[in-house]
Amino acid sequence: MSGIQTLEPETKWGRFQNWVDDRLPIFTFMRHSLEEYPTPKNLSYWWNFGSLAGVCLVVMMLSGIFLAMYYTPHSQHAFESVDRIMRDVNHGWLLRYIHMNGASMFFIVVYLHMFRGLYYGSYKSPRELLWILGVVILLLMMATAFMGYVLPWGQMSFWGATVITKLVASFFPGLENGILQLLWGDFSVSNATLNRFFSLHYLLPFVIVGVVILHLVALHKHGSNNPLGIDLKNPKEKIPFHPYYTIKDFFGLGVFFLVFLSIVFYAPEFFNEPDNYIPANPMVTPPHIVPEWYFLPFYAIVRSIPWRWGGIFLMFASILILFVLPWLDRSKVRSGTFRPIFKISFWIFLANCCVLGYMGALPTDGHTFGLPNILISQIATFYYFFHFLGVLPLLAKYEKTLPLPTSLGTPALGAKNV
């Protein structure tokens, strides 16, 4: 039957595979990208987070599609319909808690995935586009999560939507009203807003799937980076993805679900704001409007600048700057393991992001350790950009990096902690 295969397979299933493959090379594709795909043998557990992010996306889409069968996108019914999912739909509470906490887990996983890339220089040549596609995914996730949070139509949904849409609109001076009406579909956050957000919340995850596919195509072109950050020239230093990394990913998945599901079953309201169990009320502003935790660092940046437009500009810039990161850090050495000063700056940067996140949750007029929150936010915002625009370019120029090993077989000094 098949012109390529020389041996006729013995089983029916084998013959069927060949028949299909001859017309649609799907089995060849799977073999190529899973079984034979050569992968560095020294990847650490930090390399698990990519596949975990993929699983999160699938979990979100599946739970979301089932939620949407019961959810009612109408300002008069949305809050109640979510509550009915929790009370009356069979295992509806499970679906909703999976979706609600899944969003937080998704961001945890993706942030860890990104910090992994930052530390090991995974954004450097030849993986610049791979990194950029990742940043596109992050932006799409943020839009999706923001609109999803509006759907249960509680107080935080409503007021979060009001605050954030106004922020976005005031980025375009003179066009504010036009943009707001475009986003709201009305003169305030209203039923029309809820409808279009639901529509987009359903759409965007599928767009994310598209970008994820591109992300994977870009990954498979040059394969994974590795903790040493060196190009592996000897094919013996690579092992087939299957079974080695399939089983490692499955083990990681087990640990991930242990964490995820213990939150779902035992602390499902952990990430939630109590105010979102109060139905949306345009006449009552909550005393303290906070976005979801995964937006807090960016919220801190926007609030740190008294000049509104400047704050919004910096908020967008803080993510967009990631697009040009490969050209800001021009050091030829990828892995932080061989960059003694970069390594320190990485941890300072990470700590600084946590400070920003913490500040995002506090009122701007308060004090922390005797310092005004606004001042701390400003310093942290400055440092965030200084890391990209000052530290990284300077280090690329002046840092003395450690000698790189030429292969995995001869780890150089200082590579103990890989």
């Binding site: 509470w93 808690y97 089983i247 087990g254 242990l258 035992y266």
Partner: protein, 251 residues
């Protein structure tokens, strides 16, 4: 009208800003439902419903619950039917265009004390008693906070100027609440010999309202136990398989 609304919003915003920091932190209580294996105390749930039914229901609705849901606190179908039938339910219109009224059935949602928000406000000096279906989830430290509110009434300190129809309560934002102290010793007759004091009423009704906001908690925890047990085994299995598969890979 619009300007007034904005002004009101602003005032509400400002007052909450000032007051929020002002309330005392609710004391931590021991609840049977808090631990990993914790469940609701069935007797407390039923007493709590009695308190809600005889006291709170005069002002507060419980809109998200139907009578049939009360099977979850151990009521028999007969009790539920009888409870529902006490109430008259408006159910659309007759052929003559009159409002059609009939006795409640188990599938009806628990009948609210007021026909709409305006009526509720009018009857409470302009304050709206919130719906209690999700109140425990809608407040930080829900059960502790509710217990503190219900037991936290006191004579105001001399320097405090109470607003009209306001009551001093140090756990409420601003320390002034429009709800009059709802619980008094001996006001609800328990049939099971449990003490009939304010502390006990508060504990029972908070247990009931926690259940009302999270009726699937027990199912959630017991499903969770099975799932976690399975997952731990599976993950261990994965771990050992991984070790075996990787055995021949040298660093």
């Amino acid at each position: 009208m619009f300007k007034k609304a904005i002004l009101l919003m602003f005032l509400a915003f400002m007052s909450l800003q000032v007051f929020a920091s002002d309330a005392e932190h609710p004391p931590k209580m021991n609840w049977s439902f808090q631990s990993i294996f914790g469940t609701y105390d069935r007797a407390a749930l039923q007493r709590g419903f009695q308190v809600y039914h005889e006291v709170c229901a005069a002002c507060h609705s419980l809109n998200h619950l139907a009578y049939r849901h009360l099977a979850g606190i151990g009521f028999t179908p007969e009790t539920i039917k009888a409870l529902a039938a006490e109430k008259e339910i408006r159910d659309g219109f007759t052929e003559e265009g009159e409002i059609f009224k009939r006795p409640g059935i188990a599938a009806d949602h628990i009948a609210p004390p007021y026909i709409n928000e305006s009526a509720a406000k009018a009857a409470n000096n302009g304050s709206l008693p919130p719906d209690l279906s999700l109140i425990v989830k809608a407040r930080a430290h829900g059960p502790d906070y509710l217990h503190a509110i219900l037991t936290g009434y006191a004579e105001p300190p001399k320097e405090v100027q109470l607003g009209e129809n306001m009551h001093y309560n140090k756990y409420f934002a601003g320390r002034q609440i429009a709800m009059i102290a709802p619980l008094h010793e001996g006001m609800v007759n328990y049939t099971d010999g449990t003490p009939t004091n304010v502390e006990q009423y508060a504990k029972d009704v908070v247990t009931f309202l926690t259940w009302a906001g999270d009726p699937k908690m027990e199912e959630r925890k017991s499903t969770g136990f099975k799932v976690m047990f399975f997952l731990i085994i599976l993950t261990l299995f994965m771990f050992f398989t991984k070790r075996r598969v990787w055995r021949n890979i040298k660093d």
